[in-house]
Point group: C2
């Protein structure tokens, strides 16, 4: 079998990729199911909920920011945002000093929806959460997935990860007061 | 905010779940794109390729094994398998001592296809592989995702993980001789 110029063989890299494909598919399919079940009472798709959540922590967001942070096509981000606008959860607007770009904010109704979804979260109905409890018991904390974070960072960039951490700062207060 | 009976708060568990949702979505969307690009010349979907790969290492597989290991619905596994049968890549049969269950094997054409796809794998065209190179340089090996493995194991069970490891044993030889 071919050897590469670096210190890994093609076989090692193939096996690593196959491993990532299987693990990531298994994890995502479960997360997808949990996510759908969580938001099911609100008649939202995963992408719609993700859009609301992103705008919630960015306060106002452009379509390209939503697409980037939500890992979806720009057209998907736009179409779902338009649907959410029709349902009264968000509004499109221009900034006075930047007429080229459209920004999106949550309406009061949208903000209430995001908060009530967060409040309806039940850990023990979440398969991935339950699956991580043995690690929590063992380590005294939830796993931090440092390798996964590193890979996502090197693919999506530092800004993506900064925004990712920022999203938690910005929902911390309202949740604590809930 | 509510406290649970255990040593984590609802907020901690919500944030853990949100983190998993975002990371897993970001990782899977990239893996999905890489996977599609890899098998694109063979006119296969991800699920079709996954089915061929599973039957390749199990030698013969039932629909329920394919569905479990491929993380897809039984009807999805069945419908895609039927399509692959029509294209001459696999065949359905009964075992003499077990007439109730249908087993599926690869045809010679199917086996050749699986092997040529493995051989066509190019590490540097794989985004997740490239994203993991900094970790490889740092640690001298590819990351093993022990936390992700633990969670997938506790969701899907020991058999799933055993089969997962077994899949590598069974493709090791033909790939090495390639």
């Amino acid at each position: 079998m071919r050897e590469t110029f670096d210190d890994y063989t093609i076989k090692e890299s193939l096996f690593f990729s196959l491993r990532m494909m299987q693990l990531s598919k298994a994890l995502w399919k479960t997360i997808e199911k949990d996510w759908q079940q969580w938001i099911n009472p609100y008649d939202l798709t995963i992408n719609e909920h993700h859009i609301l959540w992103i705008i919630y922590y960015l306060k106002d967001a452009s379509i390209s920011e939503i697409a980037k942070l939500g890992v979806m096509h720009v057209s998907t981000a736009f179409n779902f945002s338009k649907k959410l606008e029709i349902r009264g959860y968000l509004q499109f607007s221009k900034k006075e000093n930047d007429m080229r770009n459209t920004y999106i904010q949550l309406t009061e109704k949208g903000e209430e929806l995001v908060l009530s979804i967060f409040k309806a979260y039940e850990p023990l109905q979440n398969t991935v959460f339950k699956g991580s409890l043995p690690l929590h018991h063992l380590h005294g904390k939830f796993p931090d997935f440092i390798e996964m974070m590193t890979i996502v960072r090197s693919i999506y960039g530092n800004d993506f990860m900064k925004m990712f951490e920022y999203s938690f700062d910005n929902i911390e207060k309202p949740i604590e007061n809930a």
